[in-house]
């Protein structure tokens, strides 16, 4: 089973890296970029086929390590 955990900065948290990327895109002449926030994507392969179990394990992983919940949100997506 494959899954993806996406970690993003909570709104209101200053993201200087996102700002720098935003500036670079603008200087490259990429049109219509209003703002950029950067985050992380984890592609995780899971053994077993129980979707609920997998979601619980990924939640555990995100809470314990993948995200710092002081400043970050995460989203879990288990692909069949």
């Amino acid at each position: 089973m494959k899954a993806r955990v996406t970690v993003t900065l909570k709104s209101g948290i200053l993201d200087p890296q996102g700002k720098a990327i935003e500036g670079a895109l603008k200087s490259l002449g990429v049109d219509g970029v209003a703002s950029v926030r950067q985050g992380k994507v984890f592609d995780i392969e899971l053994s077993g086929s129980d979707k609920a179990k997998a979601e619980a394990a990924l939640k555990d992983a995100a809470d314990k390590l993948l995200a710092n919940t002081v400043i970050e949100n995460y989203a879990i997506e288990v692909k069949a």
């Binding site: 200053l14 200087p16 720098a20 390590l65 993948l66 710092n68 400043i71």
Partner: protein, 270 residues
């Protein structure tokens, strides 16, 4: 530094065991006479690179050799009364600075030690590790101006009545180096307010004259925070490196007060 030495001399007369050595090897270093009991443990994670500097500073202040404790160990040496998490780049700063080191086996022992009131000092990456381990609130984010900052900075010591600052006077300005890319201390508004209300900001970035302003806030930290303690006052995290300003050959000895203060505190407690 003259002021620091004078302060210590005034507060703690000869009876505490301090002498000021004037030998060629240890010029004007604060040396503690035999009998000092400070037992410090310096944690070592892969990618940490300031552990030797730290051990040296601890030895200069206490006369005692620090124990080097490997990250995979599950216990601290018996009788440890100070745990130091040094600076560096544990696990190559992968995932988030300090995130992986904070989950190392030895950190369970450190949590237990801190919960029992034991003194813990985290410097630079050590500060990041303590935040990630949940021993200190908040987080160290990318410097607001995105640059890795490596230079001497001035810090205002906010109070002198803690084990981590008793070697200084309240309001004293010290000069110590910083070297970090992620030192921008942030926490939610309520946490920052609590830190301020409870007097838990011990070190703050300031100008040479002791003025806290935007220009001297090198990484954009909330309230110019350079170092904070936990609720119990026994865990300090700070971004600057006091261990790198402890000997004359380093060009400045302003960092000594922190270690001398810790040694004096533990002497008294013993």
């Amino acid at each position: 530094m003259q002021a620091v030495l004078a302060t210590l001399a005034l507060e703690k007369p000869a009876s505490n065991g301090y002498v000021f050595a004037a030998s060629a090897l240890l010029p004007t270093i604060l040396v503690v006479q035999p009998g000092t009991t400070m037992k410090s443990a310096v944690l070592v994670f892969p990618g940490i690179n300031r552990e030797r500097d730290m051990a040296r500073a601890l030895k200069l202040a206490s006369g005692q050799e620090a124990a080097m404790v490997w990250h995979a160990d599950t216990a601290l040496p018996k009788g440890t009364d100070l745990v130091v998490v040094p600076g560096g780049f544990s696990y190559g700063d992968y995932l988030r600075c300090g995130a992986i080191a904070a989950r190392a086996p030895v950190m369970d022992a450190v949590r237990k030690f801190a919960a029992g009131g034991g003194l813990v000092l985290g410097v630079c990456n050590g500060f990041q590790i303590l935040c990630e381990a949940g021993l200190l609130p908040g987080v160290l984010m990318r410097n607001a101006r995105l640059k890795f900052v490596c230079k001497d900075v001035h810090l205002r010591v906010e109070r002198s009545d803690t084990p981590f600052t008793r070697g200084y006077n309240a309001g004293q300005v010290i000069r110590v180096p910083v070297a970090h890319g992620e030192g921008n201390y942030e926490a939610d508004e309520e946490t920052v307010k609590r830190l301020e209300d409870e007097g838990r900001v011990l070190y703050r970035y300031c100008s040479a004259e002791g003025i806290v302003d935007e220009e001297s806030n090198i990484n954009g930290a909330a309230q110019s925070i350079a170092g904070i303690v936990n609720e119990g006052g026994n865990v300090l995290g700070m971004m600057p490196h006091p261990e790198n300003h402890v000997e004359d050959i380093m060009g400045c000895t302003d960092g000594r007060g922190l270690f001398a203060g810790l040694a004096a505190h533990l002497e008294k407690a013993a």
